[in-house]
């Protein structure tokens, strides 16, 4: 670790986030007026940009609550005077939607739990311990992210088929196969990101623990784990999204077992050869996005510090 990296390493996790105090307020008295105008302009620009970025999402929700005839209209308007929940009703009454939702939740949570456990151990080793092949391991973590996922579907398909011959629950047509692949694909980035959180815990703490006679595993679980927990939460969002949004593997691995399909596949019901049911597609997309967005906003501060920390240490 270089000196420069060490200086910027301890990321102030509480400071960088939605509610943190703006530093620009601390200016010399003579320039306050000027600053205030500048800040006003900056804030205006910020809000406009936020509006533009959020617009597609606004349109998604709006389309979902518009009545059918307004959705397919040659003159779309950015409001509706007759909001209706029909599209949501259609999306929610897809046969077995509850089941699909449950499947998606089960897969995503299993992936999150497993990947956090495994990534925490790996990140601790990669940050706290010196061993040969450490740098190689780090580089490999970057390299495996470069392999196009789509190209791996064929080898993975056969791997899962063989797995299924001995452990049916993890074979094709079962949710276990999805858990396994998403675990594998979300792990490299999760380890990479958790490294920053582990590195932010002062080394002195470990030395103090060692002097107190704590074993390495005591330190790991009693001291390090609670300190890194916020980072685990932030990292888990990304693993969650990965598993939650997947379409490719759900389509490829769940060959014919309708009872094991996930939410993104359920949305396909509304993509029709003749006329797409835009209202229901948007309602379904809204329903799929909301849980992730809530999750995101809740851990937002941790995420900010985590992303910055992930490249240091």
């Amino acid at each position: 670790m270089t000196v420069r990296a060490a200086a910027t390493r301890a990321v102030p996790s509480g400071r960088a986030g939605l509610g943190s105090k703006a530093r620009s307020g601390r200016a010399r008295p003579g320039r306050v007026g000027n600053r205030r105008v500048g800040r006003g302009v900056a804030e205006l620009v910020t809000v406009v940009v936020a509006g533009v970025v959020a617009f597609p999402l606004f349109w998604m929700v709006l389309t979902a609550i518009k009545p059918q005839d307004e959705v397919i209209s040659a003159d779309p308007v950015p409001w509706t005077l007759r909001p209706s929940l029909d599209s949501f009703v259609r999306a929610l009454t897809v046969q077995n939607l509850g089941r699909y939702f449950l499947n998606s939740v089960v897969v995503a949570l299993a992936v999150v739990a497993l990947s956090m456990l495994v990534a925490f151990l790996a990140a601790a080793a990669l940050t706290r311990l010196r061993f040969r092949g450490r740098t190689t391991m780090l580089i490999m973590l970057l390299v495996v992210q470069m392999v196009p996922v789509e190209a791996l579907t064929v080898p993975l398909f056969f791997l899962m088929r063989s797995v299924g011959e001995s452990v049916p629950a993890f074979g094709l047509n079962h949710l276990g196969s999805l858990v396994l692949v998403h675990l594998a694909f979300s792990l490299p980035f999760a380890i990479w990101m958790l490294r920053g959180f582990v590195a932010a815990v002062p080394v002195e703490l470990e030395e103090a623990a060692a002097i107190d006679g704590a074993s390495r595993s005591t330190f790991l679980w009693r001291i390090l784990f609670p300190l890194v927990a916020p980072g685990l939460v932030a990292t888990s969002v990304l693993s969650f999204i990965h598993a939650w949004n997947d379409f490719l593997f759900a389509k490829t691995f769940i060959i014919s077992a309708a009872q094991n399909q996930t939410l993104p596949l359920a949305l396909q019901v509304f993509v029709k050869p003749d006329q797409n049911d835009w209202g229901a597609i948007m309602a379904g997309s809204t329903l799929m996005t909301i849980p992730v967005l809530i999750f995101f906003v809740l851990v937002q501060r941790r995420l900010v510090s985590g992303l910055a920390g992930s490249v240091k240490g």
């Binding site: 960088a16 900056a42 580089i139 996922v149 064929v154 490299p188 949004n245 997309s285 996005t289």
Partner: protein
């Protein structure tokens, strides 16, 4: 750290901690990647898969076919150009907005971050569909506002690429913005104050103080963006209907899927996958070397 008994003890502990991760990565990524390389050396189609025809070892013939095809080179060119636009777009937008976010009060920043997180959280399939609907030739809001009724954005080669690139930038700039924002906030205030006391202008502070401090962060953000944008699949597949008119909007990943996997040419498709990985490796290797030269250690 010095080598010796302590290091050896650490090595053993490291192995124990790394074992689960290694097991997962080797079995579920390493082995499939190995299979990918092996498959790319064979004539491997649906008949070979189901055991109806014997396997033929081709050596590098799949790569020869690939590199000898004009279509591959044109698709490669498109992919590089498309990825470059997306990377530059999300970096510039992300960096500009990160700087902007440090200059405004929390409420404004809150709005921006909430919108950005929304864009990030949207599933790729849903995001592509929304954009497609906004730009629909007949029912889309954009055409209605611009008075371009009936104009098809997905028909023309450049409008289609532009539309997809805009969507990709939309959902990938938040990562850049939030990371860089956190990086800027992590710069000790004393450093900036010292620069201000020395009479450095805002621009000079940015280029000679902030930028060097953010360099490692920028490099990793760039690498991640390159990795993601070079491999864009869902957006292109959904928004151009699998590669556009006569395949003129194909990028490598979709090309591999269309020409090879859909047509059961798994050997050829795997070769494309391997070539893509090698290209990304070369690009990243370049960056890692730059990283090392500047004194950064992973």
């Amino acid at each position: 750290m010095t080598a010796g008994p302590a290091t050896r003890g650490q090595g053993r502990a490291a192995l124990a901690y790394l074992a689960p991760a290694l097991l997962v990565l080797v079995a579920l990524l390493g082995y499939p990647v190995y299979q990918l390389v092996v498959i790319s050396l064979f004539d491997y189609g649906q008949e070979q898969v189901s055991g109806g025809a014997p396997l033929t070892f081709l050596g590098l013939a799949n790569y020869g076919t690939l590199l000898g095809s004009a279509k591959f080179w044109s698709v490669l060119g498109h992919t590089v150009g498309f990825a470059a636009v997306c990377v530059v777009g999300s970096l510039v937008l992300g960096a500009a907005l990160a700087v902007l976010a440090t200059r405004v009060r929390p409420w404004a920043r809150g709005c921006l971050f909430l919108a950005a997180l929304g864009a990030w959280a949207t599933p790729a399939v849903a995001g592509s569909t929304i954009w497609l609907f906004l730009f629909d030739a007949n029912f889309g809001l954009v055409n209605s506002l611009l008075g371009l009724d009936g104009f098809s954005w997905t028909y023309g080669k450049w409008t289609a690429f532009g539309l997809v690139a805009a969507e990709v930038v939309w959902c990938s700039f938040p990562f850049v913005m939030i990371t860089l924002f956190a990086g800027i906030r992590a710069i000790p205030p004393e450093v900036l104050e010292a620069a201000a006391l020395d009479g450095a202008s805002g621009w000079r502070t940015a280029t000679s103080v902030v930028l060097p401090l953010l360099r490692p962060l920028l490099i990793v953000v760039t690498i991640q963006s390159i990795i993601w944008d070079f491999k864009v699949f869902t957006q292109v597949y959904v928004m151009t209907g699998g590669g556009g008119i006569a395949g003129r909007n194909l990028v490598l990943n979709v090309y591999a899927y269309q020409e090879a996997f859909a047509a059961s040419e798994y050997g050829l498709g795997s070769a494309i996958g391997v070539v893509m990985t090698l290209i990304l490796l070369a690009v990243t290797g370049f960056y890692l070397r730059a990283l090392r030269r500047s004194g950064e250690v992973l």
